[in-house]
Symmetry: C2
Subunit: 249 residues, 2 copies
DNA sequence: TACTCTTCTTCCACTGAGCGGAAGGAGCAT
DNA sequence: ATGCTCCTTCCGCTCAGTGGAAGAAGAGTA
C-alpha cells in the first residue's frame, strides 16, 4: 500500500460526492479507508485551511476555499463562459434541456446545463459523470476520442435500460456514423422516455466538448434541432479559438 | 515552521488565484514557498488525483476534480441555488449589478453576481474577496457579525479611495444605523463612480448573507431600490429556511 | 443517577515516508 | 559550442506522520 500523506488527504476530499455532501468524521474515515485518528488529524488541517468546513451539527462539508479554487479551473472559466450565451440562445429557441459536456477519462463530465420545463427524465447534473456509451454527448465525445479510449470503453458496455447499446460492433458502427453525419442520437438508452441529440464543439480542428439536448421524442424535429445545435456549437468554437486554456485530456 | 505535508500540498493549491490561473512548476514552488524538488513531487501527486491539470505548454492549472468538489460546497449548492431566481428578478426590475455575498473570516466573499450593462466600475468577481468596511454588502455583514469580528475589522480600516471610511467611530455609527434601518449604503468608498445599497438575508433570525446592488448614483431612487432588495432578500430567506446546509461561520 | 453505546479528541513512542541538495536531462537562445 | 533556465530523478538521513489505546463528551435507555 503506497499511502502517501497527500494521497490520504485527497482520499478524504474524494469521500465527498453528490450523494455525500456532508459526512461525520467516522463516515469520512471509513469512506476514505483511513484509521479514525489519522482521519481526524488530516481533517483538522484541511478545515484550518478552508478546504473543509463544519456544519452546525459537526458534520464536515466541502469548504469555501475549494469552491473558490474550482472557479479558477479552465473547465469553468474558459469553456463555460464561452458557451453560456449560446446555451441560453439554444434554450430560448428550442425550450429543451441543453447540455455541455467534456470527456474525462472514460466518462462524460457535464460542464453546464440548462434545464427545461418539459417533463423529460434527465439524470445529469452539472459536475456529474455518466457513461459515454449511453448518452448523446458521450457518443460524440467517444467518436472523436483517441483510439485507445474508444477501445477501453467498448470493453465494458453496461446495460442501463432495455435500449442501451451493449454490443461493441453496433456501437462502433454508430460512432462511424456520428463522424460521417456530424451528430449523434440516443433513444431511451440512459433513461426511459428521454431521447437526445448531440454535436461536437470544435476549437480549431480538435473536438473539445459536446453540445447536446434531451427531448421526449426526436422523430419530427430532428433536422431542426441538429442545425440549431450546430449553429451554437460553431459559435462556441469560434469564441474558444484563441483561448489556449481549453485542453483536450 | 510547522510544515506538515498536508499544509505543503495546500500551499500549492493556494498559489493559484484570480491573477494566477496557470503557473509553471518554478513559479508554483516559489509562490508556495517550497523547494523545487518537493513541489515537483507534490504537484505530481495532485495531478495524478485530478486536483491539478497541465496545459499543453506544461503549465499547471486547477483540475476538474477540484471544480467538481467545489460544486458540492454548501455556498454553491444551498445559498446560490436558492437565490438565483430572486437575483434574476431583481436584475430584471432594476437593471443594476446585483451581488450576493457572505462573510468569510474578516472579508466579504462574493457568492453570486449578475453584471449589468450600465457603465459602473465594479471590482467584485464571483469567488473573490473584498474588505468589509468599504462595500455595501460588507457593512451589512459586519453590522450583524459577532462582536469580536467587528472589533478586529475596526483595527484595520485601510483606505481605498478618498471616500473610504477609515475612522472606527464613524464606521461603528454607520453600523448602528444599518441595524436600525435595515440597509447599508456606500458612496464611492471602494471605487470612484460606484455607489451601493445592501440588505441582510436572514434564515430564521440569523443573517446568513447580504444582497446588494451597485449603481452610479443613489440619491433619486434609494427607497425603491431598498424595497426591491428587501423583497428579494425576504424571498431568499424563506427558500433557505429549512435547508440546514447554510451555516453562519 | 448510573450504565451503555457511539462518536469525537488527545497522547505518545516507533519508524518509514517525505525531504531536498545535488546531479542529470531537455530545450532554447546566442 | 556555451550558457541559460526550467524540469525531472536519485538517494540516504531524519523528523513528521502514524495509529493503537485511553480518555472525554454526548445521547439514549432504564
Amino acid at each position: 500500500m503506497g499511502a502517501t500523506v497527500t494521497s490520504r488527504a485527497l482520499a478524504i476530499l474524494g469521500a465527498f460526492d453528490g450523494e455525500h455532501r456532508s459526512l461525520s468524521l467516522t463516515e469520512l474515515a471509513r469512506r476514505a479507508g483511513l484509521p479514525l485518528a489519522t482521519a481526524h488529524r488530516l481533517v483538522g488541517e484541511l478545515q484550518r485551511w478552508g478546504a473543509l468546513a463544519r456544519e452546525p451539527n459537526g458534520d464536515y462539508v466541502i469548504g469555501r476555499r475549494i469552491w473558490q479554487l474550482g472557479l479558477l479551473a479552465p473547465v469553468q472559466s474558459g469553456l463555460r463562459q464561452a458557451a453560456s450565451p449560446f446555451l441560453h440562445d439554444l434554450y430560448g429557441t428550442t425550450l429543451a434541456t441543453v447540455h455541455l459536456a467534456v470527456r474525462d477519462g472514460l466518462q462524460v463530465l457535464y460542464v453546464e446545463r440548462l434545464a427545461g420545463h418539459v417533463s423529460v427524465p434527465v439524470v445529469s447534473r452539472v459536475g456529474s459523470r455518466l457513461p459515454m456509451h449511453a448518452t448523446g454527448v458521450g457518443k460524440v465525445l467517444l467518436a472523436y476520442a483517441p483510439e485507445e479510449v474508444r477501445m477501453e470503453v467498448l470493453q465494458n458496455l453496461t446495460r442501463i435500460t432495455a435500449y442501451t447499446v451493449t454490443q461493441p460492433a453496433r456501437l462502433l458502427e454508430q460512432l462511424r456514423r456520428v463522424r460521417a453525419e456530424g451528430y449523434s442520437t440516443t433513444g431511451e438508452e440512459m433513461s426511459l422516455g428521454a431521447c437526445s441529440v448531440a454535436v461536437p464543439v470544435r476549437s480549431g480542428d480538435t473536438v473539445v466538448a459536446a453540445l447536446g439536448m434531451v427531448v421526449p421524442d426526436l422523430r419530427r424535429q430532428l433536422p431542426r434541432l441538429v442545425s440549431a445545435l450546430q449553429v451554437a456549437a460553431h459559435g462556441i468554437g469560434r469564441t474558444l479559438t484563441g483561448d489556449p486554456s481549453i485542453q483536450w485530456k
